[in-house]
Symmetry: C2
Subunit: 490 residues, 2 copies
């Protein structure tokens, strides 16, 4: 879910100045408008080291009227606090109705830190997140406006930030030895945070992950998010605690697909050489996985003419026929329609030790069914968590889940369509529907972005494959399978 | 929560015959009415050993048209099942739309059994229950009508049932050595089940706990529950997955308060003797608890003139003044009204090692506020789980939570009111409000019944104190505090 907060968003100095002037006026207006309202506003400031959380708090204190703002930072618990239930310290600092409380650190900090330190196990973290979800729902049902901000930096951005600070003699103190120590565990920490955020991301209390490499973008986005949340709730006091989570569009237009480097390419000779090696490797690994009862499940999605078929054939060509099964997803049968839509995918879940390839998949619901309006919004929205649940259960059963989106640009698609139209044995692959889908390009981009944000999980990550060069794409798929299988086999 | 399924409900042979004739006709009608409907019906048959789950399944098979009924029992998983994710076996046996599936044993069995055997910890059980809740919500959102039946026997009823079966040479085989072995762990098993049920009791998939000592009551109630669920859903296809759980009234009129034996009494001399002993014991225990940092929190609720004041004084009289605090709950202050209603109880949570007595409490919301209409139904309904969460957090922090309902009957209350009216120094205790509350007697009975059903938890059980005899009631309170403190101190 953090992938979409690593797109390099920023705001120029000029734009910043222009936006902040209006913003500050609106912030004060909104803050005064809260007087006498039945809503307390609770803003949680969380995120990774070096993202500048303290600076954000200072900025908010400057932009809001600080006399009516409460800022609470939660450090080491006091004696008083230690002698009481853990949440007591939060209860005593909740802002009253009509006021804004900025909580620097919050009820999320301890469980995440404890999990990272190995003091609690994954089940316990889950239990803590469920408790928090119930706590937050209780506050929201009572009128609270809850704004949960997560300030994110990619690994590289975090490192760069630390180095920049250290190079500045006035700021070097900001980077502690502990920061560098934590940095070594960036990957592990990220996984834990991802899980924690996913489980506590609710319609009534959604997380907003803010890309924080650029301070101007970070501060403006945070302030705007708070404003939007307050105005949204005042306009619509009825809370539907079970609606699907909807995150605001943080930067109109830019999607995760823009981060895929489509210039990647490989020459035919190198391709042939590496292909043979990778296939041999996969054959060996899948036999070994078979012996250990570990199944592999590969999902292929992508643009029409993105090269799914070719990539699938290179993969299946490497796996012994006895071990594999390719499932092409078409319209459901009558029997399948009489069941929950995941039923037809459950029924094909392989026995232990097999390789199953899905040519299109359960993601149809949040792609074509969403874009074409075949499924109602409430239905495809709830599918995200249903799918995560499904894939988590697969993973828990020891199945390695690989998911590929074969990405090409619009020009490349047109070129391939035209090529198909001209080549006799490829003509059948091009239908009117392909041209129609093409008109929905931007809708699909948006759908893919949300799909990756919500369903690229620590247990079943999405791989976005640059596929303008088919050969490069095929190798990338095989490489990913090799890596995932190696990880699983230990 | 099982207390209210131990009230000795039964149906006479004559009533049974009369009800079954209509029932069977209606069951067939309803079953045929499902044809072409978008709803599969999923009935879970769960509960304790000896409750006759198998007999219920046979009965349903007899009463419904068995050709259109699917019955699935989940025993030891097959090879096929073991090689796939755990839920695969359930997915493959889900009934299609328009049909009824009876699931004998279900997704609840394994987690509960594993927890009882100590194979998983409490956090893991919680995680399993959350997973199940998500699974069930998914099914229900897709149209499924889910009926979750839990067949309950008290410890005594279970023992009696086993003995009766053993005495019958044709039925003795029904009782296995394992049954007797499990019976030894009745108390532990009950706690685990209570937790599991509480966490998976949702508006869209409520549990129905059926008292099973009487087979006729059991079978008729189960069949009626299934019918009601189907008819209810067909009449109201829109599911609100976040509404509060509402359980059907299983036996109009009878409440948990009817199980309190109000004839209990003690003579003055014995009272004086035991009182002194108990108070000395409490003094000692509370000092010991203080040394170990264990706090005690005693909640007193009950009928007007039920004798709360007297019971509280006998308790506080035993505890050193430095260690105790009595909090009388009146109308909230302005500052308190600006916060969530639990805030004012959180603020008084004691430091470690103290005794805090609440004269009335957070239960006001589900008692007076419910009965008098001061709180909307949605507000007091959600308070049950908020309160459970609050008390669970207190318990986790090592606080012993004792909750007393001082129970008297209506005649005794009248007698006491009249006595108060005549005694000068007691006159001030009797207000017009007391007489008004009295008119709401039945509403309060219902509210108390639901409060105990929902909020008598394994970590913070309710004690219903027979208080027609004040002296007996006081001792019962002190005895309970002694027992709970002893348990906590180990």
């Amino acid at each position: 879910m953090f992938e979409t907060a690593e797109l390099g968003r920023s705001i120029s100095k000029k734009d910043y100045k222009a936006r902040v002037a209006d913003l500050r006026f609106e912030m004060l207006q909104t803050q005064f408008g809260l007087h006498g309202a039945k809503h307390p506003v609770i803003v949680l400031i969380s995120g990774v080291d070096g993202a500048g959380k303290g600076e954000v708090v200072n900025r908010l204190n400057e932009w809001f009227d600080s006399r009516e703002l409460e800022i609470h930072a939660y450090g080491v618990p006091s004696d008083e606090e230690l002698e009481r239930p853990r949440f007591w310290r939060f209860w005593r600092t909740l802002p009253p109705r009509g006021r804004i409380g900025i909580l620097f650190g919050s009820w999320y900090t301890q469980p995440i830190v404890d999990r990272a330190a190995g003091l609690i196990d994954a089940d316990h973290l889950d239990a803590e997140m469920h408790r928090i979800a119930r706590f937050e729902r209780m506050l929201v049902e009572d009128g609270a406006i809850l704004v949960k901000l997560w300030f994110h930096l990619s690994r590289d951005a975090q490192e760069e930030r630390f180095r920049t600070l250290e190079a500045d003699k006035h700021q070097a103190w900001r980077v502690t030895p502990q920061d560098w120590k934590n940095f070594e565990h960036y990957g592990k920490f990220r996984k834990i945070c991802e899980r924690a955020l996913r489980q506590s991301d609710k319609s009534y209390a959604p997380w907003l992950v803010i890309e924080s490499a650029d301070a101007r973008y970070r501060d403006v986005t945070a302030a705007e998010a708070i404003l939007d949340a307050i105005k949204g709730r005042l306009a619509n006091p009825r809370i539907d605690t079970e609606a699907a989570v909807v995150h605001p569009d943080l930067d109109g237009g830019k999607t995760i697909l823009d981060s895929v480097d489509l210039t990647k390419t490989i020459d035919k000779a190198s391709y042939e050489k590496e292909l043979i090696k990778l296939q041999a490797r996969i054959n060996k690994l899948t036999w070994k996985a078979n012996a250990e009862g570990i199944s592999t499940l590969c999902v292929f999605e992508g643009w029409d003419a993105g090269g799914k078929g070719g990539a699938i054939r290179r993969l299946t060509g490497a796996v012994d026929a006895k071990l594999q099964n390719v499932i092409s997803i078409a319209a459901p049968t009558e029997e399948e329609r009489a069941q929950h839509y995941l039923w037809r995918f459950w029924r094909h879940v392989p026995r232990a030790g097999r390789v199953t390839v899905y040519d299109r998949s359960w993601y149809g619901r949040v792609l074509v069914e969403r874009v074409e309006g075949f499924a109602e919004e409430s239905v495809w929205r709830r599918a995200y968590s249903e799918i995560n649940e499904f894939e988590e259960q697969l993973t828990e059963a020891g199945i390695v889940v690989c998911k590929f989106w074969l990405h090409i640009d619009k020009d490349e698609q047109e070129r391939r369509f035209k090529e198909r139209a001209q080549i006799a044995h490829k003509k059948h692959k091009l239908t009117d529907e392909d041209w129609r889908n093409r008109e929905r390009w931007d809708d699909y981009r948006e759908a893919v972005d949300e799909m990756v944000t919500r369903c690229s999980t620590e247990f079943a990550p999405w791989t976005l494959v640059p596929a303008n060069d088919k050969l490069y794409a095929r190798l990338e798929v095989l490489r990913t399978v090799v890596r995932r299988l190696k990880d699983a086999l230990g």
